[in-house]
Symmetry: C2
Subunit: 336 residues, 2 copies
């Protein structure tokens, strides 16, 4: 069931079959009809590998996700889902590669095997060896996040610094003087994970601008860690009346810790931050937070990648998103 078989049954040459399918040259209506009938009858589809080999492109994009050993955040999950969906709409296939910062085999296969036309790279660090590797290989890619030298690469990112600063200002407006940041895990931050660093920078800047006192804590991405982290904050800094966080997965734990401490939100304690809508709405009361637009990011990343593939020499494009903070019920005036 290859193109030769079709050609034989239709009594034409292989090239005619190819032209009948692609339309790149005219084929008489009669033979076209005959060829399509045979194709229909045999349920023939061109071999994608052969086509990719000759055409030099695969109509496939690579999606490099964090290693599966670490559970994906909901935001990342939304992002993956939207990338896959956007790619499907553009008739692109998606090849998944679970890779951390190291050069593992899966990542190397994707980069060097000419299996993909381009790559979307998730969870980029400030210094990321994978970026250099992709640039060296000359493979078009779009980063979700940016390195410390972001100008010469394509990326889509959320402006965590600005968002966190906004959160701090919001808390300051409500009269809070002592606040805490619940960041992502210490390992991630130590590895140079951009959002972690930029959120801290924004937090620090906001605190300074408003003359507040701020403390920051790293916290692993799960409920238990969130609970432990907030307990630690309450113990070590009982003066703190509000926390801001970019750690979605810690939110349930934060909630538990506050309940256990007998603190009610928002009368005794305020909580805000950056989270996927799903988490913000599951918090009780619903979280005042910037909703990370993961779904939009995925679609835009695919669009950008398509442009980058079409013209790799074009100037790098960037997209820095600053979603508004949705006021819900989890922040209120500082207690006194």
């Amino acid at each position: 069931m290859n193109i030769g078989e079709i050609a034989r049954r239709a009594g034409v040459s292989r090239s005619t079959v190819s032209y009948a399918l692609s339309g790149k040259r005219t084929v008489s209506e009669a033979t076209r009809r005959r060829i399509l009938d045979v194709i229909e009858e045999l349920d023939y589809r061109p071999n994608a590998n052969a086509r990719a080999l000759k055409e030099g492109r695969t109509r496939t994009i690579g999606l490099v996700i964090p290693p599966a050993s670490r559970r994906l955040t909901d935001m990342q999950l939304d992002f993956v889902a939207s990338v896959v969906d956007a790619a499907a709409r553009a008739d692109l296939d998606v090849l998944l590669s679970p890779s951390g910062g190291d050069h593992d085999r899966s990542f190397e296969r994707v980069v060097t095997g000419r299996r993909v036309d381009g790559v979307i790279l998730m969870e980029i660090r400030l210094e990321d060896a994978r970026v250099a590797r992709l640039q060296q290989a000359g493979l078009p890619f779009v980063g979700i996040g940016r390195t410390s030298r972001p100008d010469d690469m394509w990326w889509v990112d959320v402006d965590y610094a600005a968002l966190m600063a906004k959160c701090v200002h919001h808390l300051a407006d409500l009269g809070h003087r002592d606040i805490a940041l619940v960041n992502r895990s210490a390992e991630l931050v130590a590895a140079g994970y951009g959002p972690g660093h930029r959120a801290l920078a924004g937090f620090t800047q906001g605190v300074r601008e408003r003359g507040l006192t701020g403390v920051d804590y790293c916290c692993a991405d799960d409920t238990a860690a969130g609970e432990a982290c907030l307990n630690q904050i309450l113990r070590e800094h009982p003066e703190v009346t509000a926390v801001a966080t970019i750690n979605e997965a810690a939110l349930p734990g934060i909630q538990h810790a506050l309940e256990n401490a007998g603190l009610s939100v928002p009368t005794d304690f305020s909580v805000t931050g950056v989270a996927a809508p799903h988490w913000a709405e599951n918090f009780r009361p619903q979280l005042t937070a910037a909703d990370v637009p993961a779904l939009e990011m995925g679609a835009r990343a695919v669009e950008l990648l398509a442009e980058c593939i079409a013209d790799p020499s074009a100037a790098a494009q960037h997209l820095l998103l600053t979603p508004p903070i949705s006021l819900r019920g989890s922040t209120g005036p500082a207690r006194r």
Copy 2:
């Protein structure tokens, strides 16, 4: 930077380079050394498409996931992650295809494009057109779940019927007489989603065996629906003292509804069911539930698929998992 380039620089023929890499024929140590040096210097990797074309296999598996429009459950996410990980360990790439029950283009590409050696098919329905399509195309595949005629296909599944029956017996043992089932969404059940049907069957059987009274409700996969569903149960059947569920995503909503109704778990009301450990542990008190072994399922599905690809004519293998119910704090004696 193809194999010809390497051959030229090393002063040998292309076939010699190929044999030096594959080891399928002997190559003298001297030339091998020379070839590998050139490869190293030029950072050459064989073109995966050309290799796949010639060899007739792609070293890639397809993973057909539910469409992204519907948020994946945590269990599904764990499953995807473990499949991707297991595949990476076996040096297989994973091609993602978001497909519902219909034949969409993405699914058709995966099935007919010869881009994958085999497929893992998630969220199988009792009558699933995709299964027939794969069988017709002769593409090896492993189902996560089974159709109503499961004997002639390979699959891995969780015995939801047995698990739900166990839950019912557990509740009966605690003295509950009126219980409710919170199932997955009405659309999913109507579409013939296996776990939904089998859970209901197990629930009904358990209720009958113990002479209880049981009501069952469908519930969309989110917090709001879970809350609404439990409110409805409390309103329409105030005699109910316990619910069992296979709807993880409804658990937070169930919790909210119980809190709002002033019912405390487990003294006033019991909750149990089947959920990924993550959800079970986030419930308060922690959920007495069967932990769906999603991580194990993923790894086993990849193993099975590898066997199925190696020998497609072999007898179909099945794996029906019945994880034990972990007793945590969310079930207790019926109130009186």
